[in-house]
């Protein structure tokens, strides 16, 4: 009897989270999967079961491969840089230097700004001629570069902005990580005559690995999740040079109204993210020191 009550209480406590998860995560996932197996309904063509046709057309869709490659480049270009920068910034603002609070805030500001606002700012940084970057380089006599209008510079430009936006966020985690490291370790390493670099590489960095794992997963997910800026900056152009998977899904679903194909793309993205998260947990977890 008592057990039942306790069980019931337990379920009751679990219910709000469970209901939200079921309603907004699991149910949509299942319906998305089902939608990907059917064609779209319209008054001209009725809905019919199409099986894996959606996935087949995905594999033969050159734009899909383009946006997938773009996304991989973006991940490769932004994750190591933003993690490296985050560690450096965290090390700087972890020291007792004058104006530390101000510096911390300055590093964190990009994170607090909404992505759309950020994109609007950077749109005018990158604008040829009237943009901040071009005006700065023109002083030194460099030619004007159309950063967002050139297929070879557009993705790197977006990477720079993403790093700028994300590094401050990851810094906060590293800062928290650094502050859990006992100061005795630093004193001990100083007594032993260990160099600053040696202390960082042999002591701090290994102790920060749990943070790094967390940040790594987050950064990877973000590189697929963050597309807000594309709406403002490039709309995926020129000629899909900056188009990313999620933006392509959005276009397919809401501009082209092709829910069936968008569902297939979504399932692909879900599986991809689930697999990478799993891989990261399984392989990297083993090498991480938790205390």
């Amino acid at each position: 009897m008592k057990d039942n009550v306790r069980n019931f209480q337990g379920w009751l406590l679990f219910a709000p989270a469970a209901i939200l998860l079921l309603a907004f995560t699991h149910y949509p996932t299942v319906t998305t999967f089902l939608n990907s197996l059917y064609t779209n309904k319209s008054i001209i063509r009725p809905r019919r079961f199409s099986g894996i046709e959606g996935y087949e057309s995905m594999l033969s869709d050159p734009i899909f491969w383009k946006v997938f490659a773009n996304n991989m480049w973006l991940a490769l270009g932004t994750i190591p840089t933003s993690i490296g920068l985050a560690i450096i910034m965290a090390l700087i603002v972890n020291k007792a230097i004058p104006g530390r609070g101000l510096l911390r805030m300055a590093y964190f500001t990009p994170t607090m700004l909404p992505m759309i606002a950020v994109a609007n700012i950077w749109l005018f940084f990158y604008a040829p001629q009237i943009g901040l970057i071009d005006q700065a380089t023109s002083i030194f006599g460099f030619e004007s570069i159309n950063w967002l209008g050139n297929p070879s510079t557009v993705l790197p430009s977006i990477m720079v902005m993403t790093v700028w936006k994300e590094a401050g966020f990851f810094m906060v985690f590293y800062l928290a990580g650094l502050q859990t490291i006992s100061p005795e370790l630093e004193e001990a390493s100083k007594l032993e005559g260990s160099s600053r670099w040696n202390y960082f590489w042999r002591v701090q960095f290994p102790l920060l690995l749990p943070t790094t794992l967390f940040v790594l997963i987050n950064a990877f997910l973000n590189s697929f999740k963050l597309v807000d800026h594309l709406f403002v900056l490039t709309k995926g152009g020129p000629d899909n040079a900056s188009n990313l998977i999620l933006y392509y899904i959005y276009e397919t679903a809401f501009s082209f109204l092709d829910i069936s194909y968008a569902s297939a793309l979504t399932i692909f993205l879900l599986v991809l993210l689930a697999l990478t998260a799993l891989a990261q947990f399984l392989f990297i977890e083993k090498r991480v020191h938790y205390r």
Partner: protein
């Protein structure tokens, strides 16, 4: 001793619990009683009020594609409408650009809490029809007066709203592409500021004179993000071709269309009067206002903002002619959704008639630069005196006689994306105009085949 104490406290605890429970029950009863009371009162009040004024509530989404304080203008006209029609309540919701607005209107439709009418992209008509989302105005007009109203608009503005022999969209925020030019820069370059170039040859010659070697001022900018197919529609028309021949057939690989894209590219590559590559729609107005380009092709919907912000003398001209003059129309139409009651449809018609009435259309045109939608709008004192004082306001209208429908087919968005990609691929040099447009035509064929 200890165990006795313990037991007693346990008993006390149980008693307290019981007490609390009964208290709780009483409280709940009281609460329920209160609740049912207030519910009856609330119901009563709402019944009385709905009986007193049977208000028809309308939700309308509308887009703004050119920036500026256009939402205030819409809000003002809507407020004016409500004060004159106290039985109709209108929620006018600004919802981003054309794509965003369509998404919101369709999402509202799917949610079962739909909008009754909306201003959506004029070229969305085929997709909205395919979704069975809208009703034709032919079914809504009955009296001869209303039929006359349906014929009161500029015919070229009606083109995009017509499909399968019926009218589905009523023009509201409509535009053509016009050429803004910096008269001060013209004077500086020794050109006559009162005779803007009227042909492609004249355009290239003037732009060459206006382009400065140090790159501080370009002769011309034509935007190639956002709505590249729209700008291209103008160039193709000027070369004698439209981009589609019917709602299920595109015309991308016609030699003259390919040539038009080559001409666009040549402005940057061969003639060097325009920056090479892609030119951003969103920052172009700023480029013009800062004098980085002496001429720009842009929507007439920008006119009032440019007028307010330009600190130099500027003019507005029709787009120049290749084989002929040409521009697509553009902008948003009113649609009425199918999922509406008769009362809501009547109220929607009232609102649309009000907002497109000559006087309001004139006010809207003055506030934005968009066109008055009917000849009568230009006969109002508001627009007459405005045009007299500021002649550029009439250019878009004068250009209407050369205008064609904006690109629109079944599956418009997807076909359009293929065309946009082709234009951008050509301008950045990853494909030739011929390759890009032939590919786009093949893709469009695949998409449109099932509709024939």
């Amino acid at each position: 001793m200890i165990s006795v104490l313990f037991r007693r406290s346990a008993v006390e605890g149980q008693m307290k619990k019981k007490l609390r429970l009964t208290l709780g029950r009483n409280k709940v009863k009281k609460l329920l009683r209160k609740l049912s009371y207030s519910l009856t009162v609330a119901l009563g009040i709402s019944m009385i009020s709905s009986a007193a004024i049977a208000k028809t509530e309308l939700t309308m989404y509308y887009p703004v594609a050119v920036g500026g304080a256009l939402t205030q203008t819409v809000d003002a006209i809507v407020a004016d409408f409500m004060s004159k029609n106290p039985d109709i309540e209108v929620n006018a919701i600004y919802s981003g650009n054309y794509d965003d607005t369509r998404i919101k209107a369709l999402a509202a439709l799917a949610s079962g809490n739909p909008a009754q009418l909306s201003v959506l992209f004029s070229i969305d008509v085929h997709e909205l029809r395919e979704l069975d989302a809208i009703v034709p105005f032919d079914d809504l007009v009955s009296s001869s007066e209303e039929k006359a109203w349906l014929n009161s608009f500029y015919p070229s503005l009606m083109e995009n709203g017509v499909a399968a022999g019926k009218t589905w969209g009523i023009p509201f925020q409509r535009s053509t592409i016009v050429m803004y030019y910096n008269k001060d820069a013209f004077r500086e370059a020794g050109l006559d500021p009162e005779t803007p170039p009227a042909t492609w040859g004249g355009l290239i010659a003037a732009a060459k004179a206006l382009t400065k070697d140090d790159g501080s001022q370009w002769g011309l900018m034509i935007p190639s993000t956002g709505y590249p197919y729209w700008m291209f529609g103008a160039l193709a028309m000027q070369n004698g071709q439209t981009l589609m021949t019917s709602s299920d057939k595109t015309n991308f690989d016609h030699p003259d269309v390919i040539e038009a894209l080559e001409v666009w590219k040549s402005f940057g590559e061969e003639h060097k009067i325009m920056p090479k590559g892609i030119i951003e729609w969103g920052t172009l107005r700023q480029n013009f206002l800062e004098g980085r380009t002496a001429m720009m092709w842009h929507s007439t919907g920008n006119l009032t903002t440019v007028k307010k912000k330009a600190d130099f003398d500027f003019g507005v001209a029709m787009l120049p002619a290749g084989k002929r003059r040409g521009t697509p129309t553009g902008g948003g139409n009113f649609y009425i959704f199918k999922d509406t009651s008769d009362a809501e449809r009547k109220a929607s018609m009232k609102l649309i008639k009000f907002m497109t009435a000559p006087e309001n259309s004139a006010k809207w045109s003055v506030a934005t630069g968009y066109m008055g939608v009917s000849p009568d709008a230009y006969e109002t004192d508001t627009l007459k005196s405005y045009v007299a004082a500021f002649p550029p306001a009439a250019v878009a209208r004068d250009q209407l006689k050369y205008a064609t429908a904006e690109f629109s087919t079944y599956q418009t968005s997807r076909v359009k994306k293929g065309l946009n990609d082709a234009i951008q691929a050509t301008l950045v040099g990853s494909k030739t105009a011929k390759e890009a447009l032939t590919d786009a035509q093949a893709a469009a064929e695949r998409i449109l085949k099932p509709y024939r």
